[in-house]
């Protein structure tokens, strides 16, 4: 039972990261119809920046903030200079993001080399609940992710900008007629999506070593969550992330990490086959 509880708690940590990644993908997909395959590399950019800054003697929190802003800026730049040129052609967007993977992987490899990088963990404390131990860093990941998701939900629901964003997702034509600067909203949503992946990367760096191949697995998990949650639905994404995180963690605990991946990929295939719209019924309430 202890092992089970432990696995579920670790699963929640994974779920937080997947939820942040999938929310970023959802925002970009919902507003721009682009599947950004470079999302995993943006996450890695966040991880590496946090590592480099902490390694340089900065505090973890400052490093995390700088990394999030920097990755958001990166997202803004690639959207304004590259993706904005191919808005009418989703395949071109997909191809551009594949090109970005190659470029960013090369950059990371050149600067930081092929080996995993670690830094002193920001939280040393370990919490105990009966027999279950929870690393402070894992708590930090979950708490930060929940806080950011609540902030994002509030932003989307209550602010003018958030409403403009949702309006653009629902109907770009109508949004233009209402005087919403649709193109800028798209740039913004790409930047926010990138920021979320940068944050996920920065948080992940506190728990796992940072290595050039690290973006790939998380990206596929992000896609699984995106599809499971019904693309375009933030609430669905969060629920799917929790489901996937816990299933994966249980799979690792009771089988193997490769076994956990086999379950996850099979889940994606089955859901895509049976319910391409996702597990959660998409209604107006849960879409962007």
């Amino acid at each position: 039972m202890t092992q089970f509880t432990q696995a579920v708690i670790n699963g929640l940590m994974l779920a937080s990261v997947y939820a942040l990644v999938a929310l970023g993908l959802t925002l970009v997909f919902g507003l721009l119809d682009i599947v950004n395959f470079a999302h995993g590399q943006m996450l890695l950019a966040g991880s590496y920046l946090v590592f480099a800054l902490v390694d340089d003697g900065q505090s973890y929190w400052l490093a995390l903030a700088i990394a999030v802003v920097a990755v958001a800026a990166l997202g803004l730049v690639v959207d304004a200079t590259l993706f904005s040129r191919v808005r009418r052609s989703p395949i071109s967007g997909l191809l551009i993001s594949i090109g970005l993977i190659a470029i960013l992987t090369d950059v990371f490899h050149t600067i930081w080399g092929p080996n995993g990088q670690t830094f002193p963990t920001p939280v040393r404390k370990v919490f105990r609940l009966g027999d279950v131990t929870i690393g402070g860093n894992r708590m930090l990941v979950v708490a930060t992710a929940i806080a950011v998701m609540l902030l994002l939900a509030g932003f989307l629901r209550f602010t003018r900008l958030g409403k403009a964003l949702r309006a653009t997702a629902e109907s770009p034509e109508a949004a233009v007629l209402m005087g919403i600067p649709v193109e800028r909203i798209r740039n913004l949503s790409f930047a926010v999506g990138a920021a979320l992946s940068g944050l996920a990367g920065g948080l992940l760096a506190a728990v796992f070593p940072v290595e050039p191949s690290g973006g790939e697995g998380v990206l596929i998990k992000g896609f699984i969550v995106l599809v499971l949650g019904g693309a375009g639905s933030p609430l669905g994404a969060v629920m799917a992330a929790v489901l996937l995180g816990i299933i994966e963690s249980l799979g690792i605990t009771y089988w193997s990490s490769a076994g956990a991946d086999l379950i996850a990929f099979t889940m994606l295939i089955v859901v895509l086959f049976l319910r391409p719209t996702g597990l959660v019924p998409v209604t107006r309430d849960v879409t962007l």
Binding site: L95, G99, F265
Partner: protein
């Protein structure tokens, strides 16, 4: 002149093939042999991707994994168990075609990026499965050398599995046959129906062309070609492991086909020649080659989304129209706008 101009792209496409054949005859230096063999293998792999994406309009991310399936099947049956190469190859084709039908039935109802993700999921599943299988060395990999038999022409004698010409010969013949077959299929009802579903699915359906059926056929054909490529690749490397078929390799394949020109029969050949020629022969970019070609992919998508051959055929058509006032040539229509997703 115009007939020649129309045929120019396809005539140019045979150059690397003929050059490769010449190299066998004349015996170039080892580096040239290496580069040409790799170009031919990659051109085959690119052709497999071209069939499903360039002609069928479905962005499949499973072509590398299907090739891996072929390479592993032959490595087990021929390399480990000593089965006759051609029987092993037939088994590999059977495995890959069955896989492609399973993937196809599951994925071809989906369109756009869902199809891409579904094929990526299957590819990841397949490679993950290989990485947990003891018999094939899990993540470490396994030897892929085997006895492919011999060919004798007069006094000349080749071991087909040898890196000193045998695999080159096998690749030249396979690629030529595949390209000739595609040229044939382009002109048949099946080929035209496939192109019609790529250009306008709704219109094609309303004319009685069932898109799924033709796409499934294209996907199965592409799986066969992927197996040829994967088997030759494994045999050439002498060793295979799941990491040889990972994302970086998939990106390389996509880059080549986009640069050469998706939807053009010789696009993948041109793309492979440029990519492998630059990286392997001229050692262009060194360890940054991957990043450089990532940038090249982005530039191509922005300035010439149909690749070099797409741009060339556009120019040729424009010239023809100016010279003779004739409409664009008939035959296989080149992709008109950006490739489909």
């Amino acid at each position: 002149m115009t007939a020649f101009a129309r045929r120019l792209p396809s005539l140019l496409g045979w150059v690397p093939l003929i050059g490769g054949a010449l190299l066998i005859g004349l015996g170039g230096d080892p580096l040239q042999l290496h580069v040409v063999t790799l170009i031919l293998i990659w051109a085959l792999w690119g052709t497999s991707f071209n069939i499903v994406w360039g002609y069928g309009g479905q962005f499949s991310m499973a072509q590398i994994a299907l090739g891996a399936g072929g390479a592993y099947t032959v490595a087990i049956l021929n390399g480990q168990m000593g089965l006759n190469f051609w029987l092993a190859l037939a088994a590999a084709v059977l495995v890959a075609v069955s896989l492609s039908i399973i993937i196809g039935v599951a994925a071809l109802r989906l369109s756009g990026f869902y199809f891409a993700i579904m094929t990526l999921a299957f590819a990841s599943l397949l490679l993950r499965f290989v990485a947990t299988w003891d018999r094939v060395g899990r993540t470490t990999g396994m030897a892929a050398a085997g006895d492919f038999g011999t060919v004798d022409v007069g006094s000349l004698h080749w071991e087909l599995a040898s890196k000193e010409g045998g695999l080159l010969l096998l690749s030249v013949v396979t690629l030529s046959l595949v390209l000739l077959a595609i040229g044939r299929i382009e002109r048949t009802r099946t080929g035209r129906a496939l192109l019609a579903t790529r250009e306008d699915e709704t219109l094609a359906s309303s004319l009685g062309v069932a898109p799924i059926q033709y796409r499934l056929l294209a996907f199965a054909l592409s799986a066969v070609v992927a197996v040829f490529a994967g088997v030759l690749y494994g045999a050439y490397l002498r060793f295979i492991s799941p990491s040889f078929f990972g994302t970086a390799v998939l990106i390389t394949l996509i880059v080549q086909v986009v640069i050469g020109g998706a939807g053009h029969r010789f696009g993948p050949v041109l793309g492979a020649t440029i990519y492998i020629g630059m990286t392997e022969y001229y050692q262009f970019g060194g360890e940054h080659a991957h990043g450089f070609f990532g940038a090249a992919l982005i530039v191509m998508v922005l300035i010439a989304p149909n690749g070099i051959l797409g741009r060339l055929s556009q120019l040729v058509n424009r010239l023809r129209q100016q010279v003779s006032g004739l409409p664009a040539p008939t035959g296989a229509p080149a992709p008109t706008e950006e490739p489909a997703l």
